[in-house]
């Protein structure tokens, strides 16, 4: 690994100037860093909520908060779900894309830098509005992260927490839509000369389709949230069955957003993995064209599968059959990706450094989540395990085993570019193994307790159900996972000060971001590079065997 020490020292300005600089910046790199920092902050908060949930469920008939336990438990899982999806998952991926997309396509910034800044701040303020509910008399909302009607009606949620939940998501949704518009404009209009759409780095391609999904999926949620607010503030009765409204309407609108949201949270990770695996296998990505088509396929199919979350409401048999078939269809492009990643690794000279370790962890864990997803897509199976811990286990395998493992792979890969410092490999390995073991212990047993009939969202259970041991293993797993996150945060902070210098291209990688300094200057590239293939740096490094000779 080539490392280059930069001895030059630039005197840093006083801290008020630095704070002002960060608060007013429109630089995509600083905004990206703040997005990721915001997500990490909320990850810690959401993680603490998860630990409290697990602690409560460790023993049957437990009441760790005394008489308030049922209400507090409902509030905790509502905040945990909302936080992890809206304030961790999306911001961390949007942040990484913010940082990387312009660098990877040879642009100097995003297409709309001010809109970019607005997106960050609305996400932050949306989160703060949600968490301000702790200061209100009734406390946070207790409606679950998908807030089914009539739970959001005044009859069941009299306090202001539910209003703040809706307003928080509305405000942060503005930022997400802005980010989607910005990515689309940037990728479509600001690529380096020669970089056709068929030559963009794969991460950029996945962000393009994620943005399409954002633009199609978030507005229905925004509309539905406005309807909730109108119901609660003005008695509009959109979702009030007693007055001619329909709670099912909310379910349709929510899941029309909610299922594409799953892919909004995983497509960028597919992109990260598609960058990491080739570089650490020393091979070109296998089947780029098929991978690209599979990404498009997933983006389109994912828009038409929402009602597989609603089998149990009693939809018509024809509708169930359609949604089951459409949901099963997603497994084809996803399978293509899996096989192509494996084919990329096959025969490669694999380097088992931290990014690759997490990428392999992603492959294994996401595969399990995908397979249980196929089971749940089958309506009769779903009838049996809907709203049980089986579902909880499934989506944590996709969102932690998938999204989070992939994000860690990406952070370990690009941290040297962002900071100019290498992360500690030793700490990374500790983090990986603790996370993997803890994760499997936490969420594996949930499949069993779910099949045994344990419903999700219950605050406690009777001791004679046979669920005790599975819950205890899950809680022990959560306790094993917890230090892995602390190790990660420590590694980020300690390496920033004392990590070995990274140099411009520590991994001998092939995409444009590695052609500039680490960290890059405000303008990214002194000269906008010209590109002839999907691996421009390979072409520069190997002029006797450039990729453009082979690419069509």
């Amino acid at each position: 690994m080539a490392t280059i020490e930069r001895e030059s020292h630039v005197e840093s300005p006083p801290w008020p100037a630095r704070v002002h600089d960060w608060l007013t910046t429109v630089d995509h790199k600083k905004l990206g860093i703040m997005y990721v920092a915001l997500a990490m902050g909320f990850l810690i908060i959401g993680g603490i909520e998860a630990l409290l949930i697990r602690w409560q469920l460790m023993w049957p008939e437990s009441r760790i908060f005394g008489q308030d336990t049922p209400t507090l438990f409902n509030q905790l899982f509502t905040l945990h779900g909302t936080t992890m999806v809206f304030l961790v998952g999306m911001p961390v991926l949007i942040g990484m894309a913010n940082y990387l997309v312009p660098l990877m396509i040879g642009a100097r910034d995003m297409a709309f830098p001010r809109l970019n800044a607005l997106g960050l701040w609305t996400t932050l303020f949306g989160g703060l509005v949600l968490y301000l509910s702790f200061l209100t008399p009734g406390g946070p909302p207790a409606i679950g992260w998908f807030a089914y009607a009539p739970l959001t009606g005044h009859t069941f949620a009299r306090d202001v927490g539910t209003d703040l939940w809706a307003m928080g998501l509305l405000v942060s949704g503005v930022g997400t839509i802005g980010a989607g518009v910005n990515f689309l404009a940037t990728i479509l209009a600001m690529r380096a000369p020669g970089m056709t759409l068929g030559k963009v780095p794969f991460f950029v391609w996945t962000i393009l389709w994620t943005s399409v999904q954002i633009l199609l999926a978030i507005p229905p949620l925004t509309a539905a949230l406005i309807m909730v607010v109108l119901d609660r503030q003005l008695g509009a009765h959109f979702f009030d069955a007693a007055n001619g409204g329909s709670p099912y309407l909310w379910q349709h609108l929510f899941w029309f957003f909610g299922h594409p949201e799953v892919y909004i949270l995983i497509l960028p990770v597919f992109g990260i993995i598609s960058e990491v695996i080739p570089v650490f296998s020393r091979k070109v990505l296998f089947g780029y064209e098929f991978m690209a088509a599979a990404t498009m396929g997933i983006a389109f199919i994912a828009m038409g599968v929402w009602a597989h979350h609603m089998y149990c409401v009693g939809l018509a048999r024809t509708v169930d059959i359609y949604f089951a078939a459409a949901s099963l269809l997603v497994s084809i492009p996803t399978g293509i990706k899996m096989f192509n990643w494996l084919a990329t690794m096959y025969g490669g000279r694999i380097r088992f450094t931290a990014p690759m370790l997490f990428a392999i962890g992603f492959l294994a864990m996401f595969l399990i989540g995908g397979l249980t997803g196929i089971m749940l897509a089958v309506a009769p199976v779903d009838f049996q395990v809907s709203d049980t811990y089986f579902v909880v286990g499934h989506f944590h395998f996709t969102l932690i085993g998938g999204t989070l493992f992939g994000v860690f792979a990406g952070i370990y890969y690009w941290y040297p570019k962002v900071t100019g410092r290498m992360l500690s490999e030793t700490l990374a390995r500790w983090q990986f193994w603790l996370l993997l073991v803890g994760f499997l212990l936490t969420f594996g047993p949930m499949h069993v307790s779910g099949v045994l009939g344990m419903p999700r969202r219950i605050y406690t259970y009777l001791p004679d159900r046979g669920w005790d041991v599975w819950n205890q293993i899950s809680t022990i797993g959560a306790l094993i996972q917890a230090p892995s996150y602390l190790i990660f945060v420590w590694n980020l902070m300690a390496s920033l000060r004392s990590g070995p210098p990274a140099g411009d291209d520590p991994w001998d990688a092939w995409t444009l971001e590695w052609a500039t300094t680490s960290p890059p200057p405000p303008y990214n590239f002194e000269e906008v590079p010209t590109v002839r293939s999907r691996r421009p740096l390979w072409d520069f490094k190997h002029p006797d065997d450039p990729d453009w000779k082979y690419e069509g």
Binding site: R6, R114, V160, L170, V171, G503, T517, Y523, E526, E527
Partner: protein, 276 residues
């Protein structure tokens, strides 16, 4: 590389601005006020209007951008160094070049012979069961035919113990087809078993028969549950194992032949390896 910075050595970038932050704060306050106090909404709306005005003002020509000087030479990127000669094309004959797996296979005739030998030996335990149990040799044969023919399950046990031409011929047909098919599968699958001593025999003589026995137990329950009641499963298992062991021994003892190599193009597009 192309499109350099401007002649002055500066790069024009959007200027820092506080208005996005103010607009977001105004939006959040306006929303918060809807749920709490109208006063907050009023403040929020005022902030939003101020922010939009400030934002639009920065979009006027000549405003909202700054010229950022290029970094000093010592902070510029290290030029990408060409490393010619580090890439080697893999060509036929070189270690690591594409080859078919497995490299050697049994000839197709080995699978056919294995299936035939297994098929000849398999009826021995089946007929032994029929004779020793007092049901006679025709019961297992008629049951096999019942897998394909309709209404066999409606026959009484006494009828099933009798010789029936139709059932005999159908059973023989089923037996030959299945034996040959599985024999051919053995020929294909056994060379792919991990290469440790006895592995092929273990796979062919035990693991695979156990798998299809379990599958046929389940399938028979779906296709013809009435017939399943007449099957004596321990003897059934023994006959499957006899088939498996016999077919595996025949296949394994056959000499393997090399697979035809993949004919590559002069410059194969993949795989290439960086020798770094």
């Amino acid at each position: 590389m192309a499109e350099p910075s401007n002649p002055q050595g500066n790069v024009e970038l959007p200027a820092a601005t506080v208005w996005p932050l103010v607009l977001a704060a105004g939006l959040a306050l306006a929303g918060l006020g809807l749920a709490t106090s109208a006063l907050l909404s009023v403040v929020g709306l005022a902030l939003m209007v101020t922010a939009v005005v400030g934002w639009v003002a920065e979009l006027l020509p000549g405003r909202g951008h700054v010229a950022v000087p290029l970094a000093g030479v010592e902070r510029r990127p290290v030029p990408v160094k060409p490393l010619p000669g580090r890439v080697e094309q893999l060509r036929p004959g070189m270690p690591g070049h594409r080859f078919r797996l497995p490299e050697k296979v049994h000839p197709i005739s080995a699978g056919i012979r294995g299936g035939l030998v297994g098929g000849l030996l398999m009826p021995i335990p089946a007929l032994t069961y029929g004779i020793t149990s007092g049901h006679g040799p025709w019961l297992p044969i008629n049951l096999l035919a019942g897998l394909l023919l309709p209404r066999v399950e409606t026959q009484t046990l006494a009828e099933l113990e009798q010789f029936q031409w139709t059932l005999f011929l159908v059973a023989c047909g089923i037996h030959v087809v299945i034996s040959l098919t599985i024999g051919l599968l053995y020929g294909v699958l056994l060379p792919t078993v991990p290469a440790f001593p006895g592995a092929q025999l273990l796979a062919g003589g035990l693991i695979l028969p156990a798998m299809w026995t379990g599958a046929s137990y389940g399938l028979m329950g779906v296709l013809n549950p009435a017939l399943r009641e007449h099957v004596h499963w321990p003897w059934y298992v023994v006959s499957q194992l006899v088939f498996g062991v016999a077919a595996a021994i025949v296949v394994v003892r056959t000499e393997r032949v090399a697979v035809a190599p993949i004919v590559g193009r002069e410059l194969p597009p993949a795989p290439r390896e960086d020798r770094a």
